[in-house]
Amino acid sequence: MPRSQERALHADTVTLAAGEGGEFHAPGIGEFLGLPELFFADTPFAIDRIVMVRLIAIAIMLVLFYIGLRKAKRVPGHGQSLAELAIDFVKTQIVDQVLGEKHGKRFLPLLTAMFFGIFAMNITGIIPGANIAGTSLIGMPLLLGLVAYVVFIYAGIKEHGAPGFFRAQLFPSGVPWPVYIILTPVEFINIFVVRPLSLALRLLLNMMVGHLLLVLCFAATHFFFFSAGGLYSLFGIGTLAFGFIFTLVELAVAVLQAYVFTLLTAVYIQQSVSHEH
């Protein structure tokens, strides 16, 4: 079965389920997968709703930064102040604090790109019209995890040379040698398998769950108000309130996940380049 057909079918069942008046349909994986392909269908460049949201979010974020920094002056205007404040937040709170001046200077561009990229794609989860985080599809978190992985290994190898780096990571000094029998495999799995995957999955699942919670709240509100009717409408007020609260929570989560992802990447780089492990 061609992919678009299959997607269409999947989408149909979703809309069908949602459209059936009295039934309440809990949101599921169909929120993220099997969405109709809007452009370039059936090619590797297919664009569905989530990819489109990503592209638009990034375009807006880049344009805002561009406007802010376009006419950078000694005495900044409002836009420039905001742009500088944002970059300075990442610089002082994450990069300089974790990596210090010397290494921080090298990795500042990458880490700011990560932070603002993730934030822009997270925040779309609560922006009306988009209503889905660009990071709630595995590709983006996985790619970012991979970038972090490559960067911290590259940084370590560049700092210590490949043998030095792997020795420092897998055979941390200061323990008696029999401990290595257990410690080395654990460290290997931790550093070279768990780190990138945990980065990717933490971001992905946070954004997926956040979206599902919001959909659940608002779908339930819709159901109670328009399908159930009567006294059930009172439940709708409750679910709407929850939706409101979770929207605020999602706002915090959007910033927090960008922060956590970037901070952990910085910490991993720091551990790679550090001279005492």
């Binding site: 370039f40 090619t43 569905d48 990819v51 920094l69 002056k73 000694r74 561009p109 790109a113």
Partner: protein, 184 residues
């Protein structure tokens, strides 16, 4: 067989942890664009403006410090000049005073010397004149006395030697009688 393939495809389509090709491709495109934007535009610009601001602030501080140092130097110089001027004035005054005193002393000395010289001159002159008067008087008185005596005595004292002896005797008598008178 075909149902197996469909099942596999469906598994991929419903497994949220296996990325679809388009997902990975657009993720990469998006990330490359962001990284390029921050790497080549935003961060360099951010650093440039921060450096510029830091340079301006540092420049301003340096300028202020320079100005302060210059002012201090000027003040020092002014004070030094003032002190020099004062010292010079005092020196000039002192010099003038000593010079004045010296001139005064010199003048006094000169005047004294002059007066002494004049006095000495006068005394010498007086002495000389007295001597001259004495000599001429002696000669004249002698002649007169001899003339008178020769007339009185009637003898001519032509012999000069005798005459001079006579006169001297006479004068000596005269002087002794004078001093005797004065002594009384």
């Amino acid at each position: 067989m075909s149902s197996l393939i469909i099942a596999a495809e469906e598994a991929t389509a419903t497994n949220p942890f296996i990325p679809a090709d388009y997902d990975i491709i657009w993720s990469a495109v998006v990330f490359v664009v962001i990284a390029a934007f921050f790497g080549f535009y935003a961060i360099p610009k951010f650093r440039k403006i921060l450096d510029d601001r830091a340079a301006v602030i540092e420049g301003g501080i340096a300028k202020a410090e320079n100005a302060q140092a210059e002012a201090a130097a000027q003040l020092e110089k002014y004070n030094q000049l003032l002190a020099e001027g004062r010292a010079e004035a005092a020196e000039v005054r002192e010099k003038a005073r000593t010079e004045g005193a010296a001139i005064l002393a010199e003048l006094k000395e000169q005047a004294q010397a002059e007066s002494a010289r004049i006095l000495a001159n006068a005394q010498t002159q007086i002495e000389a004149e007295r001597q001259a008067a004495l000599v001429s008087l002696r000669a004249e008185v002698g002649t007169l006395a001899i003339d008178l005596a020769s007339r009185v005595v009637g003898e001519t004292l032509t012999d000069d030697k005798k005459a001079a002896g006579l006169v001297d005797r006479f004068l000596a008598d005269l002087e002794s009688s004078e001093s005797a008178k004065a002594g009384q």
